[in-house]
Symmetry: C2
Subunit: 417 residues, 2 copies
C-alpha cells in the first residue's frame, strides 16, 4: 500500500460497449481531482498507444465533454485487440512499457476491458512488481458478454441486455402482425457465454418475447431445433421467434454457424459466401417447412445503442472508473473493481469491491445451467430476478437537432508520438 | 357532403410502422367523441377482417390503453396485404363489403396504409358511390417509405428516419474504434424510393454518418461501388461506411441483390442461400481488397423501434387519424389526409389537408434527383432541410420494469366472426 505521486494513464480495450466511455468519464473526472495525480493521460487504442507513446492530455478537455462521455457509445480513445506475450518468452513490450512509464513518471495505470484486457493488465502489474517499479494498477471491468469472473455483472452488459429485451418486444409485435405466421430467428452476440441472448427472456417475461432461446451453455442440435420450432408454430398459428447466441455449438463443441457453412458451395471467388447464423437457421426452417422466415442479426447495434442505455449501467460504469482511481490513490494495486449485489430497503443496490487481478484474467463465467429449462429452450424466472434490476431507468445523450449530442474530445497529444 | 349517422370502421394495412397505432388512437379517440358515430369498430387484419366480419368494439377499450397506442409499434389490430381486384372483373369482394356495411350500418370508413392500401380504399369508395350507398370514406396515410403522392411526407417515415440517423451515428463510433479500418455496408428498406436510406445523411450532417449513400433513384454500378469505397478507404485509414437502399438496381432496372445472388452456387436443398444485400456487397469488398468488412441489415428494427420514435411523427400520425374522422363527420368523403409543410414564426409546422383518393392510389413519389450529388453517392443539404424538422423530439412508451409498457387491447369481438 503505497501512496504514490505521479501521472496516471488510462486505456480502453476490446470490443466497445454503450457505457465504456462512462467508465472513462469516471476515471478522468476523479483523477483530475486527485492531488497525488500530476497528469491524466488517455491512451490512443489502449496498450498500443502505450507502446507507441501515443496518448492525450485529458486535462485539456472541456468538463462538459467529459460529462457527455457518460452517454457516448464506443471507445472514445480508440480500442485495441492486442495480447501481450508471456514476459518469460519475450519481454520486449514489458521493457518498453517500463521505459514509457519512467519517462512520464506514470504511477497510476487503469485499464478498461474484458477477460483478455484484464490478462494484459495483470501481466503489466506483475512485471512492474517484479522489477520493483512502483505503480498502482487497477483494472476496470467491461463487457457486454457479462462473462468476467468474480463480479455479479459487468458494466456494458445491462445496456446491451436492455437493447435486446426492448428490441425483441418491438420485433414480437411486428413479426406477428399478419394473419399468416412467420418464423423469425434472431442472432445475439455471445461466443462462449449466453448472458446476452438470455436477456431476450426479459421480453418473454413481459409476454412479448421469443418462444425459444438457445445459449452456448447447452449443446445445440439442428434436428431438435427444427422440431422445437414446429411445435411452437403449430401452437401459435404458424408464428415462432427463436433467439440464438452466435456461439451455439453441437455436443462436440463445433460451432453451428461453421457446421451450416460447410454444407455450402463456394462462390466464384472461392469464398464460402455466408449469411450469418440467423439467416442460415431461418433458411433451414424455410427449406424444411416451406414457411415465411426472417433472419435478424443485432450486429453492432446491440453494443452501441447508447440511446437505449440502462441508467443503472451508466451509473455503475461511471462509478467503476471512479472507484478504481480512489482505490489506487488510497494505495491499492494489482486489483480489479468488482460489483457485489446487495439490497437497501429491499431494493437492488450495488457495492464496489476489489479482487486480485489474476483471478479476473482469462476466466469465463457462464450462465448457470440451473437457470436454463430442462429442454434447453428457455430461461427460468431466476434469470429475470437477476437481470431485471440491472436494466432500470433511461440515461441518454441530450438531443441536438433531434439527434444525440455525443462527446467531442479535443485529443490534445501528450506523448512523443 | 352528407352528414351521416351510423357506425365507423377502421383498418390498418401494409407494413407496420412505429406510429401506425398513433393514427389508430387518433381515429378511435375522436370517433368515440362524435355524436353521429354510433359505434366504433376496429378491423382485424384490415380488409380481411371486413370480408370475414372479424372486428372489435373499440368502445370497450380502456382510455389509458388507447392513449398508449400512440407509443406502441406495429399494427395493434393486425395488418394485411390484400389487393382488391378490379370491380369490373370480379365484384364478389365489393358486394360482400356492401353487405357487411349495410348489416352494421357502417357510414364511416377509415383505412390506414400506403399506396396499395389507398388503392383499396379508393376502389371501395368508388364502388359505394356507384351503387349509391352513403358512406364517408377517408384514407389515412402511413409508410416508412415516404413515397405517397401529394403529401409533404408520410406518418411513420420520420420515426424510421430518426432510427436510421441515430443508429448510424452510433455505428460510426463503433465501426471506427480500432486502429485498423473496416468497411461497413448498411442495408436500409426502400424498394423503389430511397427516402429512408437518404435519412442516413442526417448522421453525416452531424459528422458521424456514412461516407457513401446509394439510392434506387440512381442506377447502381458494382464496379463504381468498388472504386467509390476504395477512394474513401484510402482517405480514411481504411475505414468506410456505405448505406444502400434494398432496391438499388443497375441501369437496366435489375435489382443488385438478384444480380449478386445469381452468381452464387446453390446449396444442398437447391435453394440459393443468400445473405442480404449488405452482406453480399461487404463480401464483394472483402474479395476485392482483402479488408475487414461487416454487412448490417436494419431489418424490422427500422420500422418498429418505437422507443426511438420522433415526437413530431407521433403527433402528426395521431392528428392524421383525428382529422380524418373530423373531416368525415363534416361530410367529406373519397379523400386522403395529406400533410402540407408551413411555418409559424419561422419554425416548421404541419397543416392537414384533403386530397382526392384516386390521386394517392398507386403513384410513387421519389427523392428529387437534384438532392442527390452528381456522383450519386451522397445527399445535399436540401435533404437535411427537408428531413431534420421531422425527427424532432422524443415520444416513447412509459417504462415498466425498465421496459416499454405497450398498449394491451381487450379486442372485444363485435362482428359475427
Amino acid at each position: 500500500m503505497k501512496n504514490l505521486v505521479g501521472a496516471c494513464m488510462f486505456g480502453q480495450s476490446g470490443g466497445p460497449t454503450s457505457v465504456i466511455n462512462a467508465s472513462a468519464a469516471g476515471v478522468f473526472i476523479q483523477a483530475l481531482k486527485e492531488k497525488n495525480i500530476t497528469a491524466v493521460y488517455g491512451l490512443a487504442h489502449g496498450i498500443k498507444g502505450l507502446l507507441d507513446e501515443n496518448f492525450y492530455d485529458m486535462s485539456k478537455e472541456d468538463a462538459k465533454e467529459l460529462e457527455l462521455l457518460k452517454y457516448t457509445p464506443s471507445s472514445a480513445l480508440g480500442s485495441v485487440r492486442y495480447k501481450l506475450v508471456d514476459e518469460k518468452k519475450d519481454d520486449t513490450d514489458y521493457k518498453r512499457i517500463l521505459e514509457v512509464f519512467k519517462k512520464y513518471n506514470v504511477r497510476y495505470f487503469f485499464y478498461n476491458g474484458g477477460n483478455d484486457s484484464m490478462d494484459t493488465c495483470n501481466k503489466i502489474s506483475k512485471y512492474l512488481q517484479k522489477v520493483g517499479y512502483d505503480c498502482n494498477i487497477i483494472g476496470v471491468p467491461k463487457t457486454i458478454d457479462n462473462d468476467l469472473f468474480g463480479t455479479d455483472h459487468c458494466p456494458g452488459y445491462a445496456s446491451a441486455a436492455k437493447y435486446v429485451a426492448t428490441t425483441l418486444m418491438e420485433i414480437n409485435l411486428d413479426a406477428k402482425v399478419y394473419d399468416k405466421g412467420q418464423v423469425c430467428v434472431v442472432e445475439i452476440m455471445g461466443r462462449h457465454a449466453g448472458w446476452l441472448a438470455a436477456a431476450s427472456k426479459l421480453a418473454s417475461y413481459k409476454g412479448l418475447g421469443p418462444d425459444l432461446i438457445y445459449l452456448p451453455e447447452v449443446p445445440f442440435c439442428l434436428d431438435k431445433f427444427k422440431k422445437d420450432v414446429k411445435k411452437v408454430m403449430d401452437a401459435n398459428g404458424g408464428s415462432c421467434i427463436a433467439c440464438v447466441s452466435e456461439g451455439i455449438h453441437d455436443k462436440d463443441g463445433k460451432f453451428i454457424v461453421e457446421k451450416l457453412s460447410e454444407s455450402k458451395a463456394r462462390d466464384s471467388f472461392g469464398h464460402a459466401q455466408l449469411g450469418g447464423l440467423a439467416i442460415q437457421l431461418a433458411d433451414l426452417i424455410n427449406a424444411e417447412y416451406g414457411v415465411k422466415v426472417r433472419g435478424i442479426e443485432f450486429s453492432l447495434m446491440q453494443r452501441c445503442a447508447a440511446h437505449l442505455a440502462s441508467k443503472v449501467d451508466v451509473e455503475e460504469a461511471y462509478n467503476a472508473g471512479k472507484k478504481a482511481v480512489e482505490a489506487a490513490c488510497a494505495g491499492q494495486t494489482d486489483k480489479m473493481v468488482v460489483f457485489k449485489r446487495s439490497s437497501v430497503d429491499g431494493k437492488y443496490a450495488c457495492e464496489y469491491e476489489l479482487m486480485p487481478l489474476e483471478l479476473a484474467a482469462n476466466t469465463e463465467r457462464k450462465v448457470p445451467v440451473e437457470w436454463i429449462t430442462e429442454d434447453g429452450t428457455m430461461l427460468s424466472d431466476d434469470f429475470v430476478d437477476y437481470a431485471l434490476p440491472l436494466i432500470q431507468g433511461d440515461a441518454k445523450a441530450p438531443l441536438e437537432d433531434g439527434l444525440p449530442r455525443f462527446a467531442k474530445l479535443k485529443k490534445v497529444q501528450a506523448g512523443k508520438k
